[in-house]
Symmetry: C2
Subunit: 677 residues, 2 copies
């Protein structure tokens, strides 16, 4: 869904989710408080839960999550919320278990610039711009303070700076992150102090038992006032009020029933979500490939017959799970199947003897493999971003037959596919993520051309040795000659990616032109018309881009708009995404117009204090990764601060009642970041 | 079983294993070729398969494996072997998956001194001294050469130097390690060259399919002669001959039937193996603790109701699995149980609310927890050797009630138990490993005193930050100021262990005296009487140690004999184990004599070339870890080489047909060792 770059799709899917949630609630099978979305940026390719997120780019995440909450909650200020969504994990959570660093005790060290620029945008969108009902504080600590016990995060930023102060908005802890404040964070001397620190900081609800077990003791010790407890309860009961919990049949959602679950519309949407996200990375012209009933197809690989595997990390019970093998069989062709080799953790060659047998007989090969939850999952980060030797061996053996050879790279994170990209005998490479219940059909339809691929990579595909250049624990984004960091994400990575963020080929070609000439803008003029409370939201310009399908195949086209140029603090990012929109079903020769709404915030950059500043300088707006069109413009005048970032408190090593353990425990300090050359 | 330090026990257990194996073979359910034992030294506490091995000390492993093969094969030169044992993994295999280093592609860099001194002794014992039927080459490469393709390892050392040349002795590959030669080791240009390299080096049998798939091509290309293939086949068929495969009912083992499986003797032995290995790490006098039917016991922890968990990494179907909870219930006491918290990967506090409820009611607490196969397993190394915060929190909460509090630390590897050792409210700490089908009973019997603990730690219990001081990939044993390594194993570790190798308390006390006075020996005199083919096997002296049980409780006593002193090449190890024996059932006030047979090899040390040398100098023999007795002696004269180690060939970067990839692939080279400060 991240690869689709289609916000309307996200709202549509989220609306189905919240509709089905109401049906389950009406049936007595579920509550109304949902711990979704995971909206932490997918910063490091090893992150096991990166698969749950839309990708690595903060603008992309913000736009996506706005559309998602719209569907989950039923608009941004509904009389009755469909459900309460929960933006998680606040904040700087993107490490599970890596080289002795565990999410439960990891202390993320992030400066204000990186914090505001990279880690905060999706949460700002949730809280400030989307009226999300709940925010979940995370397991990790941030700059020495466990997030669930951090008044700077939960009060100063979340509630005060972002105005997230509706009475029904509440913070929940991640499961047992209150316990983690006591240990392994060792942030307080006692368990009573740990629950007090969380409650006073503004964590209203505890997933776990520490509040139940230890709040009574803390209260008896006079560590907090009854009004503090009342506040947490008022927030939670107010949320029930806004859900219509007390209003009986006056709530229209009470009519949603089992008939509204697994509807034809929902099934079509599941297919569409899979199809829109499939991303074509390489194609020598073999695709689209007609599969006729007189052909013999060999479908091979640890994902070839994937069913539950297609659902990824968190999942419901699907009405069906159409594997790639199943979908191949529906084409009417003769299909041979071999699972070899068995995934990331399994090198066994037991059934490799079948490979030459089926290879001789087949007219074309489809290899479906890659990652799955045995190597990327909640609680489990990857240690390698390379394909296994066994997988590459089978791919190469099949490719050696010189027949059409299509590789589908699966899983949420990226693998270094350079051995496949560089193998001239591999005809095509597609990335399919975790495509869900109809994933096999979407993949096969993409091969045959029934679906034209138009997805884009939402994360950078790094070379395999990237993981040896930067430890997961390094939270910085910018390249750093001292630490040897080559930088993170397409914005800052100084190396050459295997496939870049936003990469995605089509079965046709597109041209684009921008309906706007190059010119100069005065910052003071721009500010004069800016009446928004949050000045970054003031409009700059809607850039209209005319896109033409100059090939012969119908296709969607994702219009990605990147900004580059010399403005604001150095170093400058390579480029940054400021707008995107997906144009649908463009027939051969047709032209559509993408309307890209840019705000002052789109142009602004973040200074070292985390302030959002509109800077004079040169700007260039580029359409697509290999630009199809470009618009240069200049901003003149003095810099203007659009948003003044609240500064973190000075370290309170001796002054806080709760701050005993210092910056993590001694053990935490001793576990080195690891992995740097 | 490693902690029991009881070679007779090992032979007895192995005899049951081979008896039951024959019953299964006669029943048509199993073959006669068994891929056991894993006898690589447990060098790094993180190693996921360390649990399969007897421990970290090479003498201990050698003595243990000699006893084991005796039982598995039915003596050292039987007319008919009971089964073929397989010493694995040859050699220097002790890493699964750590920080981007995978066993399938890891290149172990080991110099000749460490190789002969540490990694080779158990294999020398298997091949040279125990007539093992088979040896398995490993996944890793050693100094640039995949072990299954290494003629230096498989021909020069294994067959020529150790005289492992009986016609029925063969080498098998680890599963798909032949494929790994091609990729990810990238050691050969083609698949045909990979299978040829393995066959010619002396790998007779391939677990996997690469031989079947690619030997025909290699033969057609003229890469090897038919006689080479014949040699591999002759070895395997000869093994069948020695197993009596062709001799029908003339083989006495043909009479073994299902009645010989799961006998009362086997069940008693399973109990004995568990009981003998249980190791008492801490005791404030609470243990032994009578449990009466009018008591209430709370048994808590992720291992409290362990069943399959007790079996570890590889296992058969047990006739029963008596959990600690089950065993506690058999005492007649009222037993409360709570699983909290749920193991290494599970921090949830969901059922913690039960803790104060049962704690109020109980007269004593038994906490059973630690590691399991969710964090240490084949394919999975640990990244932390600390208890989790959740486990320590529950232990501390229970200890806070001031009632008898017994902690059982479970799992194959060690955890830093200093928070438990240092908590004055924890009465006792036991280590129970993976105790098998009757493990719960053995643990409870040890608490009540029905079994007197006499196990000893077979591995060092390091502080938690040890894992940040040395990467798993560092194969060196000695401390190194350049790399920052604090050294490995009790022989070389320069830090202070939490509990040292060999540590183990009793319910009684022992004194010891050595029946031998201090004196000086002439090396030339010693050599004059040495007529053995392998001179390290020549007797030096049998040291008789009188051990007295000076307490009031019957108990076994493990007599450990360490050697220290200034002789041979610097640096000197802290000490080294040269003999051990277990004295059984010593009643209060009784004396038993331990006969410790020392050889010239016991005294010798290894020089930088890997030669085994008897050096002049000062020696001290110490009984036990905190020495109960000591004998000093001196060797005079010139050093004598007892065993001249075959030197490795010079790197053949350009001369070998097969050596294409250099020392591992480029990717392997780029994955840094990681984890050093």
């Amino acid at each position: 869904m991240g690869a689709a770059f289609d916000d309307q799709l996200i709202t549509d899917v989220a609306t189905v989710v919240s509709t089905e949630a109401r049906a389950f609630n009406n049936g007595g099978r579920a509550g109304l408080d949902y711990w979704t979305p995971n909206i932490n940026p997918f910063k490091d390719p090893r992150w096991g839960r990166g698969q749950e997120t839309p990708g690595e780019d903060p603008f992309h995440l913000s736009s996506y999550v706005h559309a998602l909450i719209d569907g989950l909650q039923g608009g941004f200020d509904p009389k009755y919320k469909r459900i309460v969504a929960t933006c998680k994990h606040f904040a700087a959570y993107d490490l599970e278990s890596w080289n002795g660093n565990f999410r439960y005790q990891f202390d993320a060290r992030v400066d204000s610039q990186d914090l505001r620029e990279y880690y905060m945008p999706p949460f700002q969108t949730c809280a400030r711009d989307s009226n999300v009902g709940s925010v979940m504080c995370s397991y990790n600590s941030l700059n020495g303070v466990p997030t669930c016990a951090d008044p700077y995060l939960l009060q100063t930023i979340l509630r005060e700076h972002w105005g997230w102060t509706n009475e029904q908005q509440y913070v929940t802890s991640d499961c047992d992150s209150i316990q983690n404040i006591y240990t392994p964070h060792n942030y307080t001397r006692t368990r009573a102090e740990a629950v007090t620190a969380a409650l006073v900081a503004g964590t209203d609800l505890n997933c776990g038992t520490y509040y139940q077990q230890h709040l009574p003791t803390a209260y008896a010790q006079g560590l907090f006032n009854e009004s503090t407890l009342d506040q947490a309860l008022i927030r939670q009961y107010s949320a029930l009020v806004r859900l219509g919990y007390f209003d009986g049949s006056a709530v229209p959602y009470r009519n949603i029933s089992w008939a509204d679950v697994n509807t034809p519309h929902a099934q079509q949407l599941a297919y569409k979500a899979a199809a829109e996200g499939i991303t074509l990375l390489k194609n020598d012209g073999t695709l689209p490939m007609e599969i006729t009933s007189d052909m013999t197809i060999a479908i091979v690989g640890d994902w070839a017959n994937a069913t539950e595997q297609m659902q990824g990390n968190y999942l419901g019970i699907a009405p069906y799970l159409h594997s790639p093998l199943w979908a191949a069989e529906q084409t009417g062709a003769r299909v041979y199947y071999a699972r070899v080799p068995g995934g990331q953790g399994d090198p066994t060659t037991d059934d490799w003897l079948s490979v030459p047998l089926l290879a001789e007989k087949a007219d074309a090969f489809i290899y479906v493999g890659g990652l799955d939850n045995s190597v990327e999952a909640e609680g489990m980060d990857r240690v390698s971003i390379a394909w296994t030797g066994g997988q590459l061996d089978v791919i190469d053996q099949l490719a050696g037959y010189g027949k059409p050879m299509i590789v589908m790279q699966m899983g949420g994170g990226q693998l270094d596919s350079s051995p496949i990209a560089n193998n001239p005998n591999v005809s095509a490479l597609l990335w399919g993520g975790y495509p869900g219940q109809d994933g096999g059909v979407a993949l096969l339809d993409t091969i045959t051309g029934k679906n034209s691929p138009a997805g884009r990579l939402p994360t950078t595909q790094y070379p395999a040795n990237y993981v040896s250049q930067i430890p997961m624990t390094d939270m910085t984004l910018r390249p750093n000659s001292t630490t040897g960091s080559p930088g993170r994400t397409y914005q800052w990575y100084t190396g050459t990616p295997i496939y870049e963020f936003g990469h995605g080929l089509h079965y046709t070609n597109f041209s684009a032109s921008i309906q706007s000439s190059n010119r100069s803008y005065s910052i003071s003029d721009l500010m004069e018309g800016c009446m928004e409370k949050y000045k970054d939201k003031c409009a700059f310009q809607t850039v209209n881009v005319d896109v033409e399908n100059i090939g012969s195949t119908i296709s969607d086209y994702v219009t990605l708009a990147f900004l580059t140029g010399t403005h604001g603090p150095e170093p400058y990012p390579n480029k940054r995404l400021v707008a995107y929109t997906r144009l649908h079903n463009m027939t051969a020769g047709s032209t559509s117009t993408a309307n890209l709404g840019l705000t002052l915030g789109s142009l602004a950059r973040i200074d070292e204090q985390g302030n959002t500043v509109l800077y004079p300088g040169d700007y260039a707006l580029m359409v697509d990764t290999q630009p199809l069109a470009m618009k240069n413009f200049t901003l003149t005048g003095d810099p203007v601060t659009l948003d003044e970032w609240p500064q973190p408190p000075a370290p309170q090593l001796q002054t806080s009642d709760y701050f005993v353990g210092g910056y993590g425990s001694t053990y935490e300090e001793n576990v080195i970041a690891g992995g740097t050359t």
